[in-house]
Symmetry: C2
Subunit: 343 residues, 2 copies
């Protein structure tokens, strides 16, 4: 039933030329190999006619290249990552590359397994938001001359390309904004994590408070625990710290957990407490009240990431230089962080 696709040999046979000739023409080497224009055209025309498409698998096996880039993000269902994924895919697609996405779920094991799988597949390049603990695997990729671009986070000790936002200063500014609005008991809800981006956010928060001689108040959650549990954690944190008057959430999903927690606490209302989320979300403007956020420049991040990747892919020379891109994030002030009437 499945009528086999024509192979390069079929083409060659029909045209009474050798596969070599066909291959050269197909790969645009007709000129270089001084194949007669006439023949070249004839081949092209015939190929078009029968709708011949080279077998990518065979091509990969032969060349060791796949024109596939893997994109491993923390969680594809997170708005930030899925947006970046979309944008990167689009750009890659235009340049003739395919993107394979997948989610690491911040698990070292899963990430390792995925990297191994992609190596098996002779994937051309790796775009990764690595969980803490996979330095060695990344180093392994680099050692074996695979193009790697990290984003959202990086490993300070690793010589790699990366694209991140200025987490420290963005958080610093966000906290300062809250202070300027009259808040003084500002909490920070984040993840137990050694990832630099989370650390930088935490440090930006601490520094801002320190500069104003205010005390820090930090709650750390565990990424691996189910959302429900983390919500409960936040709830009890809030209940036990009724004096706080503002909160900075370190990611958009923590913000969502936090807001749900606040909603469920009877003596507390989101209107009573200043809120800023690190990482924006399409729907934050629709919340009650609309949530202020540190917006990461999704388009620029994607553009930088894919550009660095393609440059490496297309020019092996580039493999020797590491690009470090640090982009500014933008504080978007909505109602949630403004001075409250009560305060």
């Amino acid at each position: 039933m499945k009528n086999k696709r024509p192979s390069i040999r079929d083409i060659a046979k029909q045209l009474n030329v050798s596969t070599t000739t066909v291959s050269f023409v197909l790969n645009g080497k007709a000129k270089e190999k001084r194949i007669s224009e006439q023949l070249a055209e004839q081949v092209l025309k015939f190929v078009e006619e029968v709708g011949y498409k080279p077998n990518q698998i065979a091509q990969s096996l032969r060349t060791g290249k796949s024109r596939i880039i893997s994109l491993m993000v923390e969680d594809i269902s997170n708005a930030f990552f899925s947006k970046v994924a979309r944008l990167i895919e689009e750009a890659a697609h235009q340049r003739g590359y395919k993107i394979i996405y997948c989610s690491t779920e911040n698990s070292v094991d899963k990430t390792r397994e995925l990297i191994r799988m992609f190596r098996d597949w002779q994937i051309d390049g790796y775009i990764i938001t690595p969980p803490a603990g996979v330095e060695e695997d990344i180093q392994g990729l680099i050692n074996d001359k695979h193009p790697v671009v990290l984003f959202d986070r990086f490993f300070p000790r690793l010589k790699t390309n990366y694209v991140i936002v200025d987490n420290f200063n963005s958080t610093y500014k966000a906290v300062n904004h809250l202070i300027s609005q009259g808040y003084s008991r500002i909490a920070f809800v984040t993840l137990e994590s050694e990832q630099v981006q989370m650390n930088d956010r935490l440090n930006g928060y601490k520094k801002a408070l320190e500069d104003c001689l205010l005390p820090p108040l930090v709650k750390s959650l565990n990424f691996d625990k189910p959302a429900e549990e983390n919500k409960k954690e936040i709830t009890s944190f809030l209940v036990n710290n009724r004096q706080l008057d503002a909160i900075v959430f370190a990611t958009n999903y923590i913000s969502v957990w936090g807001l749900e927690a606040i909603r469920d606490i009877t003596f507390m209302s989101p209107a009573d407490v200043g809120i800023v989320s690190f990482d924006d979300h399409d729907v934050f403007p629709l919340f009650a009240p609309p949530v202020s956020a540190v917006a990461q420049p999704v388009e620029e991040i994607s553009k930088e990431v894919i550009n660095i990747m393609l440059k490496q892919l297309e020019d092996p020379e580039q493999m020797n230089t590491n690009k470090h891109v640090v982009l500014p994030a933008k504080l978007i002030i909505r109602e949630s962080s403004l001075k409250k009437k009560l305060a």
Copy 2:
């Protein structure tokens, strides 16, 4: 630099056996081919030692199988699709399959191109939320005996597997709920689309109104237009139909557009109008007011889809039967659809 990975031949040479033997052992055919346990074990041990991994590309070239399933959704950055994607990926992963996701953006051309690409890659199976207009391409896949599972929508004229929710009745119930809350001028905001799921939702809406002798009021948007434009469309629709007292949005992102539109209209507030969204969203509970929604059973959908796919993949007999799964959706009533104080 890149020290080549060992090939099956290297293994064979080191062990002084033939590649066949190694291949058989590796593929679990040792028993079947009556290779001595001793030898088999020795091979396995050595393979383990040198960390040999078969070259997937070569394997695919040879077997015509890739153990990859493609998952083409409308838009990976949409909460519904990205959630399904995550769940399907997880299940597939456990069964030794990889998932390649990508977004069709509801474009016939892009979808076609993607299908073509996946065929080149000898992808084993296709999970698709097809845009209207790709019947033939899907039919082509089926003709060539590729396992296909559609979800979220399907083509009535096509003999395929599909998993959908009961769009008609779910919408019917949602509209009825609004009516029971005292609303009578209920609008429906949807997409210009020939996709069955959108049609069913529309028809469910119409039927519910008809049964109560209420007049329908439908606004159709264009998926391909930028979000901003669609928001404006909704705004002018609302402005021109001030008499309406409730709205059903046909997808979660249309709901978001609609709510943004409402927010920006001075004489209108989301508190004044009954709202139900088809398709739930994690953050709807946090909106002002919390948005009622028809929640699709994401877990079940994913489970059904991947089960059908794996069954087909593992048992070619299954290719001859088409599974049609229609799942019930659940109306989640939040504040937005309750009787208003003003009304």
